[in-house]
């Protein structure tokens, strides 16, 4: 099995899906000749030509709108946001057109909108965002956020084959830092299924994206202190695997919700509400959130390092909860 980076896994998924299905095509800024700002689509223009790898003007709303129209004609467009931060320019198109078309007029919109999210690379307030919460209150959309190369590939394939609009958040910090052996055979990671990244009994950390690694590192650290942490990697954010979450809480009885996005209005709220409603009986301690604080993503290293949830902060929260 060849060793493949997270970034390369994404490219493989695009490549294989384009090979498999002539309806799959790509649109985005600088994705063709240049191969994308992060080189995710490198080589695809050469392989599939300019009709299937379309360099567009700087118009996120129109790109998504055109993808919706093409999807209505039976195509499977995959749109790249150069940075996921620019998806805010297509917010209206996604929440009002893409999300409602099936419900209103019985026409599904099988598009994927993907792009690099997340911090840790000194990108500042406009190249580091995590945007999942912007879209969480819009029925009709789906969202995924892979943490591993395996999932990056499998979830992108699932997203492309899905008949509804899927937002696919790839964490730019992981692009070249994560390497894995991937199977030769084709596989899919179904949308809506979480993964137990580590078994544990003292408490559960539920997270996704780059924070999965922070959780795992913390778990290793605290294992030495006798604190046995279970880590759930959600993989899909909308829909998410409620059963996996509730099962883990029922097992450990204590839970930390961890994400890189800022606290107020962050994804953890949805999880907390579900757990506090459906697993209340199982809870032996408060539901704890560990997140970034409520500021824009700062640029300077000391600020960003302090901003991002760290092993240190997470360990502190976990120790306190374990003792509760």
């Amino acid at each position: 099995m060849p060793v493949v980076t997270y970034l390369e896994a994404i490219r493989q998924a695009l490549f294989e899906e384009m090979e498999r299905d002539p309806n799959v095509f790509l649109m985005g800024e600088d994705i063709g000749v240049y191969g994308g700002a992060f080189k995710v689509t490198e080589g695809l223009y050469e392989r599939f030509g300019k009709d299937r790898v379309i360099d567009t003007p700087i118009s996120e709303a129109a790109i998504v709108g055109a993808a919706c129209g093409a999807a209505m004609m039976g195509l499977r467009p995959v749109v790249e946001m150069q940075f996921i931060d620019f998806i805010s320019c297509a917010f209206d198109m996604l929440t009002n057109f893409a999300a409602t078309s099936r419900y209103r007029q019985n026409i599904g919109i099988p598009i994927v909108v993907r792009g690099p999210c997340g911090g840790g690379v000194r990108g500042g307030p406009f190249h580091s965002q995590n945007v999942e919460s912007f879209f969480l209150n819009t029925p009709g959309l789906k969202m995924v956020a892979p943490a591993t190369a395996y999932d990056a590939k499998g979830l992108l394939k699932a997203a492309i084959r899905d008949d509804d609009p899927v937002l696919y958040f790839e964490h730019k910090f992981l692009y070249r830092r994560i390497k894995e052996d991937l199977p030769h055979e084709e596989y899919i990671v179904p949308i809506g299924k979480a993964r137990v990244a580590r078994q544990g009994s003292t408490l559960s950390i539920i997270t996704y994206g780059a924070m999965v690694y922070t959780a795992l590192e913390t778990a290793e650290l605290l294992a030495k202190e006798g604190i046995d942490i279970e880590v759930i990697d959600l993989r899909s954010l909308l829909p998410y695997d409620e059963e996996a979450v509730l099962t883990s809480v029922a097992k450990t009885n204590k839970v930390i919700l961890l994400h890189e996005a800022t606290r107020t209005g962050g994804y953890a709220g949805e999880l907390a509400a579900t757990i506090a409603e459906k697993a209340f009986e199982y809870l032996d301690g408060p539901i704890v959130r560990v997140t970034a604080p409520d500021t824009p993503v700062p640029y300077s290293p000391p600020l960003e390092d302090y901003f991002l949830p760290s092993v240190e902060k997470l360990a502190k929260a976990a120790r306190r909860l374990a003792e509760y």
């Binding site: 055109a66 209505m72 099936r102 008949d163 809506g192």
Partner: protein, 331 residues
């Protein structure tokens, strides 16, 4: 110049008359509280919608604006569907989920717009792009009002159409107002067609109250698009003869403007054309009008008999496969 057959001349009249009569019925239904929500009339603008849409062929697709009922009828939307939509019935194309003429049928060649103005430009571009990738030679048409041309969505969409050289026709309905806002406060050009220059797209102004002129300019654009000649922008100069919606008495519109445009009524004038060209005589026109009235009676009866949607269906169709727990809070 395109040559119209006698039947085509009659068709154009038929659809304009059908549009106006249907809207008149809707107005009555509105007063009876049977129309639910707002009612947007196209009185005085019927020629624009009918003439341009009539230039399309089977397989082509359009995206209408609120005042393009006529275009929908040309593409085969049935009066009963429109009645049911406006009365929020199950049988309306959106099953009571959306309002107005927000319904779609790709077979017949129309899609349902959303309210957010300008957005349909890029969606319609995407239809054309998708068709091209499927090697289908279709043309798409999108309607925007003078007001909608101010939106960023319009700009991005038209620019994309231009760059990709898509077979998409952009019809700008210049009807003097966007709600209460006159075009002078909407943009600093007198002719909307100036905007075509910014995109490098050929642009034409047409008398939006002359149905044959609308057909001809659209037909040429459609033919060119179908032959690979790319997009066209059309500015149809017309006038909104009623308020923005039923509740708006449009007191902000100068009376003399309304007087002037009344003399340009697209149906009255077209009747004269038909008589002059000896296509239909006055009594034949009356007969046609009566047939339309009867037809609408029948359609309305069907619509009125149709049920409201069943609340039990509320959760259906948000996703292809329902998402678990979406309903858990319902009683």
């Amino acid at each position: 110049m395109v040559e119209l057959t006698k039947q085509q001349y009659i068709d154009l009249y038929y659809y304009m008359r059908l549009t106006r009569s249907l809207e008149e019925r809707l107005t009555i239904l509105f007063r009876q509280n049977k129309v639910i929500g707002g009612l947007y009339r196209s009185l005085g603008q019927e020629a624009t919608a009918v003439g341009t849409a009539y230039a399309l062929s089977k397989g082509d697709i359009l995206s209408p604006l609120i005042r393009d009922l006529g275009a929908m009828l040309v593409r085969g939307a049935l009066p009963r569907e429109i009645f049911m939509q406006y009365m929020a019935r199950e049988g309306g194309g959106s099953r009571g989920r959306d309002l107005n003429i927000h319904i779609a049928d790709l077979e017949r060649g129309f899609i349902g717009p959303i309210s957010h103005l300008g957005d349909m430009v890029s969606v319609t571009a995407g239809l054309a792009l998708g068709a091209r990738l499927k090697a289908k030679n279709i043309v798409t048409m999108v309607y925007v009002g003078d007001g909608a041309t101010s939106t960023g969505a319009f700009h991005e969409g038209v620019n994309l159409i231009a760059v990709l050289n898509l077979p998409t026709i952009i019809v700008m309905e210049h009807n003097g107002y966007a709600f209460s806002t006159p075009t002078e406060q909407q943009c600093a050009v007198r002719d909307l067609i100036e905007k075509a220059k910014a995109y490098g797209i050929p642009g034409y102004i047409v008398d939006g109250n002359d149905v044959v002129a609308c057909y001809e300019v659209a037909r040429q654009a459609v033919d060119r698009a179908r032959q690979g000649g790319g997009p066209t922008m059309i500015e149809a100069k017309t006038f909104r003869m009623l308020g923005h919606a039923q509740h708006d008495d449009q007191r902000y519109v100068p009376k003399d403007l309304l007087e002037y445009w009344k003399t340009k009524d697209p149906i009255d004038n077209y009747k004269r054309v038909l008589e002059q060209k000896d296509i239909l005589k006055s009594d034949e026109l009356d007969q046609l009008d009566r047939r339309i009235a009867e037809y609408l009676d029948e359609e309305l009866a069907i619509a009125e008999a149709s049920p409201f949607p069943d609340p039990a269906s509320l959760l259906e169709g948000v996703y292809k496969e329902p998402i678990r727990n979406a309903s858990s809070h319902l009683p």
